[in-house]
């Protein structure tokens, strides 16, 4: 018999079952929405392929006019017979341009109404004069809703990204969450937080402390995140992050960090911070993804900091449930085109 030391283990195996269904992000495939599938500036006469869920979108310009189709332009005639309901059998998706993006419709083409394109109040509607340095493409290695959840989640920023964007130390930190049938809005008000390293070293903010008011507004159907963080002393760094689902396990984000009002060189360097932050997020998202494939007997445990993320899970499930019943309409509280400048706190 061996002389063994046995460490005592607790009975931590059984978690209680929640009343709610488990969160299974790969199941979301919400229809009837506009996806910003490309930067307008990236599309020329050569067709490029983008993907939304399982649908291929070939994008090109035909005598200046934007086109989106299920097939390559040279194969369009030949393959049109196999066109899907997403294009009403024509092979052509509804497509339009706004805010420097190409927006393509995902869903029943009869319902495609440009009035359903979300409002982004800080970007020029016609996309003119959006500098290229504000536009970056990054990729997230998980189901889109998991990546959106990561963005909504504030406490990980203080922890996983502390080196880049500063620790969470502040005098007071208030987080609020609001939702409609189509959106989640998270507002964070921080007073006297230590200035983030990037702002101090390249942003020219010499003060020791600054106040922050950050609003994140997420559209549920197309995973479009519109964010307006405003620092004082400092400036606002409005940004758009559309998590376009490229299949069920990856997303592509053509982000616009609209730093035009910030001083140089911060204005040019800040958009590149995604290249630092995004691999840190992917390090947790990549292994997380497969652990949400099936409903788990063990529900995720939460702290009060998870309220915004848990609200997102709840309203996503509600919307998906409504679509399962065949209702793809937008409710009165969920008009995507409504002006959100006040919600974002742009005037304040």
């Amino acid at each position: 018999m061996n002389d063994i030391a046995i460490a005592k283990a607790g009975a931590a195996d059984g978690y209680e079952n929640s009343r709610l269904a488990d969160w299974v992000p790969i199941h979301f495939d919400l229809r009837d929405t506009w996806f910003p599938v490309a930067f307008s500036a990236d599309i020329g006469t050569q067709a490029v392929r983008r993907i939304v869920h399982a649908q291929a979108y070939y994008l090109w310009r035909d005598r200046g006019r934007i086109r989106a189709a299920e097939f390559r332009p040279d194969q369009l005639e030949e393959l049109r017979r196999s066109a899907t309901a997403f294009t009403g059998g024509t092979g052509h998706y509804p497509v339009t341009e706004r805010y420097g993006y190409v927006w393509a419709w995902y869903g029943n083409p009869d319902n495609a109404d440009p009035a359903l394109i979300p409002s982004i109040p800080f970007l020029p509607v016609d996309g003119s004069n959006i500098p290229r340095y504000t536009q970056r493409t990054v990729r997230f290695d998980a189901a889109s809703p998991l990546s959106v959840e990561n963005l909504i989640d504030l406490t990980h920023a203080d922890f996983l990204h502390a080196k880049a964007i500063g620790d969470g130390r502040s005098e007071s930190d208030i987080v609020e969450v609001q939702s409609t049938s189509e959106t989640v809005t998270r507002t964070r008000i921080v007073t006297r937080k230590s200035v983030a390293p990037v702002m101090r070293w390249i942003g020219g903010v010499r003060a020791k402390y600054q106040d922050l008011r950050a609003v994140l507004h997420v559209h549920l159907r197309n995973n479009l995140a519109i964010s307006y963080p405003s620092f004082s002393p400092g400036y606002a760094i409005p940004n758009v992050q559309p998590f376009v689902p490229v299949g069920r396990h990856r997303s592509r984000v053509d982000q616009t960090n609209y730093t035009v009002a910030a001083p140089a060189p911060f204005r040019w360097l800040m958009p590149r911070i995604s290249y630092v932050i995004q691999p840190q997020d992917n390090a947790v998202l990549r292994p997380q993804n497969e652990r949400y494939f099936d409903a788990d007997r063990r529900r995720d445990l939460s702290s009060r900091f998870d309220a915004p993320g848990n609200r997102y899970r709840l309203v996503m499930r509600r919307l998906a449930e409504r679509q399962r019943r065949g209702d793809f309409s937008y409710a009165a509280d969920g008009d995507p085109s409504v002006d959100i400048s006040a919600v974002l706190g742009m005037d304040g």
């Binding site: 061996n2 460490a7 978690y15 406490t155 996983l160 292994p287 997380q288 445990l301 702290s303």
Partner: protein, 312 residues
């Protein structure tokens, strides 16, 4: 159905208080670490908050801190001791816990108890009694666990190498049942001595493999025909993901001087070179070509293991 089982999942020296070690045991992902006092712990490598692996986290005086939001888990109980940014008067609910495993450390191995039953005191490594310098290692081999165990009976020469020794594919009898193992002898010859394995009258060497009927403890001995042990190896095996197998082993050369051994064997011994090799890369073609023979006796075990259902 067995209630539970001890598994040797890591070498003692691989588990530290500086950096958590991820391991896989029977397909389940675990993380191993020590506290400052050196006590070893095992948790499921899955944070109960948002399911990310805990193994890239950091070790703090309070336990293992998750890399995502910094929840800290106690090694022994798995209980969450700290959530960053909570006010001093806020308490973490007691049910906030990661799954913890019983750990036993002995014979140079970290063992974990998997299963519902009360642990029994006999550890897989109990029969391994090293004497003299040890040679140890770890690998993940590109074979399913049940196939690895079968091959250890049908063709151990595909999985192990002994410098200066040729292991033949001639089985010396039938596998014998010895408690929880099947034991089988293979004939062996010294390389470069005599006229070659095909014409030898009696094999001067014996390779004895003990393959477990439950659990993953494999014992290997190289003996002379007179049963004088030359080399002893304990290989702890377990199923890793995607049909691979994790191995952790320790072995040693016995002190006896063998006058009949070739000069090369004596020289390697004098130089302190390893007397055996557990192959980390197996040759697919050799494994595939191996005919089923003594592993027939193992089918009672392998019938239960899904990976083995593919046709031979």
């Amino acid at each position: 159905m067995a209630e539970g089982q001890w598994w040797a999942v890591a070498l003692t020296e691989a588990v530290s208080s500086e950096k958590p070690l991820p391991v896989v045991c029977e397909g389940e992902e675990l993380v191993l670490f020590r506290n400052a006092a050196g006590q070893a712990f095992a948790l499921e490598d899955r944070c109960p908050h948002r399911r990310v692996p805990l193994s890239p986290g950091v070790l703090t005086p309070g336990g293992l801190q998750c890399p995502y939001h910094g929840w800290t888990f106690d090694g022994a109980s798995g209980v969450c001791r700290e959530i960053p940014n909570l006010h001093a008067d806020e308490r973490v609910p007691a049910r906030h816990a990661a799954k913890a495993f019983l750990v036993a450390e002995a014979d140079g191995f970290i063992h974990v108890w998997r299963g519902s039953g009360a642990p029994t005191g006999v550890l897989p490594s109990a029969a391994y009694r090293p004497a003299g310098r040890e040679y140890s290692g770890s690998a993940v081999v590109n074979m399913a666990h049940c196939n690895y165990l079968e091959t250890m009976l049908d063709g151990p020469e595909c999985l192990l190498a002994f410098p200066c020794v040729t292991i033949t594919d001639f089985f010396l009898g039938e596998p014998r049942r010895d408690d929880k193992h099947l034991v089988l002898d293979h004939g062996g010859v010294w390389k470069g001595k005599g006229i070659g394995p095909a014409f030898v009258r009696d094999h001067p060497l014996v390779l004895r493999t003990r393959v477990p009927l439950v659990g993953g403890a494999i014992f290997v001995e190289l003996l002379t025909a007179a049963e004088v042990p030359l080399v002893t190896i304990f290989i702890a095996s377990t199923a890793n993901r995607r049909g691979t197998t994790s191995l952790n082993w320790r072995g040693f050369r016995h002190a006896h001087k063998i006058p009949s051994a070739p000069l090369a064997w004596q020289l390697r011994r004098a130089a302190g070179r390893a007397p055996f090799e557990v192959l980390a890369e197996v040759k697919g073609a050799s494994i595939a070509a191996l005919r089923v023979a003594p592993s027939l006796n193992l089918t009672s075990r392998t019938r239960h293991e899904a990976e083995c259902r593919n046709p031979r």
